[in-house]
Amino acid sequence: MIDSFLSYLGSTVPPANAGNQLWVLIYVLIIFAAVSLTVMWLINWVERKALAHFQVRLGPMRVGPHGLLQPFADALKLMLKEDIIPDQADKAVFWFAPVIGLLAAFTVYIVIPFGPSQAVSDMNIGILFMLGVSSLGVLGIVTAGWASNSHYPLMGALRSSAQMVSYEVAMGLAVVSAILMTSLNPSGTGTLSMIGIVEAQQQQGIWFLFKFFPLGLIAFVIFAIAMVAETNRAPFDLPEAESELTAGFHTEYSGLRWSLFMLAEYAAMMAVSSIAVTMWLGGWLRPFPNLMHGPTWDFIFSLFPGLSFVAFAAFAFIGTVRMPKHSYFKIQTVGLGIFGLVLAFIALILLVISIGGYVAQAHATTGPSPTGLLKALATFNEGIGYVYWFLLKVTIFMYLFIWYRATWPRYRFDQLMKIGWKVMLPVSLGALIATAIVGVIVK
């Protein structure tokens, strides 16, 4: 066991491709824990705070400093709540529906490339697998709506299935036009592998967003709209439109089972954002890897993860100083100060790692390649850089989802269908054909 643990270290391929089942398990557990915690804590908190500030409210302020611990209180509440199953519901299907959604949302994470080797698996059919499995998520919604044996959930489920099947078409066509661009590689063949797609952008020296301007941009915009519809988020959140359908497909759900739906929805949002980042925004690549290369630029960009944590820590300390000076707020002030210290400590570690990586690189250029601690630091530095840039891009998308929700009113269902079939489908088809023509001409 220790042998198989050590033998993978320093490998340049994902663990599933190296055939190392132990590391596959480790990666899966890390991703599952990280995604669950991010969804439950960070995104939940950011969404509530951001929406509140959009509407000139304060948002959660009581549980923990600035409501930082509110999500944990909510999670506890949801777990302790009574789990009601309606008498006339189809019990087995009702019970299983949230699990289907959750399984579909989390299964796609095994092909998401957080870095060239920071993925569970590099499948030959990566993007096909992602689109296929994420399209299974609708089954969870449909079965939930039907099994509730109630009118509003059924309406929500019908809307959801119609909406997702329609927008999947435009989404798929947009993805195909990005895949076409990978075939312009020097090797001459395209690829469906998620890692291969990012590497194609590196080899061609351009994000596919800017390739064949504006064709790449059009495909990206189509995808960015379709992915909001695919995840049932505002302004396309008709399956759970509260003004018409109470809560749509999850009206009859309560407690833990309801929270599983929320977890699945946010996990799916992160998954589709990762597709967009991989296909059009260069995945794990940092900005300008070809233009600004060399040890100095590498060092400057490797400081970013540490510096962002310095910024977080600074925010926490400012918050500590600005806390009301009353004995009621003493615990909160101390807690926020400790939280700031933890963030500052993480920042320190990250900065040390990036400096260590720089030193290792300097050693490698002058003398023999470094060993031991320096080599480990250099490897860590690289890995953290990849994951950081990938997650930063995904974070931007997650913020956009929240921003949309606060900004745009909901569509009517006929408008939604009209946009999907009469605008997005022709435009994406046109972009696909134009990309193919330009690609043939350029080649």
Binding site: M123, N124, I125, S135, L136, L139, V142, L158, V165
Partner: protein, 183 residues
Amino acid sequence: MNPAINVGAAPVATPWFFYGLAAAAVISGLLVITRRNAVHSALALIVTLLSVAGLYLMLYAPFVAGVQIIVYAGGIMVLFLFVIMLVNIERVSKERQFNRIWPIGLLASCALLALFLSAFKKGKSLFPDRIIPLPEATNTQGIAAMLYGEAGKMGQYTFTFEIASLLLLVAILGAVIMTKKKI
């Protein structure tokens, strides 16, 4: 399993995976035809389709497996469920399940069983003695080369493939015309 194709990474797919997937496919296939509730049947059919996708993966055909998931499990079955949910389940579940043409069905399934048995008896001689060398890494590209041909040349199946797509197009147009009286 043929050891010749297990080159490179250590194989995860053992015969037990085949037994598991095959059992899931058969059991859920039986559920499809025995459940009275149409939604339960549809859900069981999804399990069957997914297990078959797993079997494709075991046969080193990842592209076919991916398409199976997207088209059947993700697309067609959602439409199935969409339609079934509009049907009054309670009335349907009280109707007689078996209709008058069951002898014909029995005959057809007996014929199929005989075919399977004869294939099982003849065994090896029916199949190529070697697995066609389409390695997993270039499987998708291999399919593309067969369907569309290498650069400048027509592929082995380009013509038949295009004919099939024309057939689908006709079906789509027919569906549109049937639903819309006035175009």
